[in-house]
Symmetry: C2
Subunit: 105 residues, 2 copies
DNA sequence: TTGACATATCAACCAAAGTTGATATATCAT
DNA sequence: ATGATATATCAACTTTGGTTGATATGTCAA
């Protein structure tokens, strides 16, 4: 069992922001298959180089992915913990039925 | 067992965008306790009325919450399906170790 | 029907995010 | 050292998002 901790909403908002763009979700989905170098992602997503670089930076700064330099190439991969953190936040948003309390009127 | 279906990334991006703001996460967290009227949310989050209304609209348009009018009050509650959809998307983003394929160099 | 209240919408504005093309940096091969 | 390649950064710009105060709508109570 992994230690679970209530997620800070500010952190969660950062994660969700990074995930709120179709291009970035495309990146993240590719990385599900394991580490990928930028060149592969550029091909797969056919995005302009600077554009892709921008989105990778957003994901990285949000802590959702990490990079590793290998000679002239840079490889990105998912950061499991962050993805799980976001997942746990959502899991904590289960609606419970309200105990009979009428607010108003 | 519920039927699971691969989530459309565009839809997922919409959900995550709606969740990418601290005020909106605050709303969603309150709604975890069940249906709430706008008046309660206004108090709890002390946000200006039009501001709160704006954020409720964003969440509603993303399908994450629903509203119900009751006389002069409007009550909002979580849309379980959407929250779970977002959760399932994240659950599908489990990193697998890459099968030995070197991309470049 | 009038007035009070709850909520939504609007317009104006400011700030943040995304795109593009150009340039910089790092590493490799020669 | 030189040139080629991979990636990052930058500046200029366009687009999208958030806030505010004012006004509109809908519903109730008197």
């Amino acid at each position: 069992m992994t230690t679970e901790m209530a997620t800070d909403p500010t952190q969660a908002a950062r994660w969700f922001h990074a995930l709120s763009d179709a291009t970035r979700l495309g990146i993240v989905m590719r990385l599900t298959g394991g580490e990928r170098c930028v060149c592969e992602l550029t091909d797969a997503l056919d995005a302009a180089q600077s554009r892709l670089s921008f989105h990778l930076k957003v994901l990285k700064e949000a802590g959702l992915i990490t990079d590793r330099r290998d000679g002239r190439w840079v490889h990105y991969s998912l950061n499991r913990e962050a993805i799980e953190g976001a997942g746990q936040f959502l899991a904590s948003i289960k609606p419970r039925r309200r105990l009979k309390v009428e607010c108003c009127g």
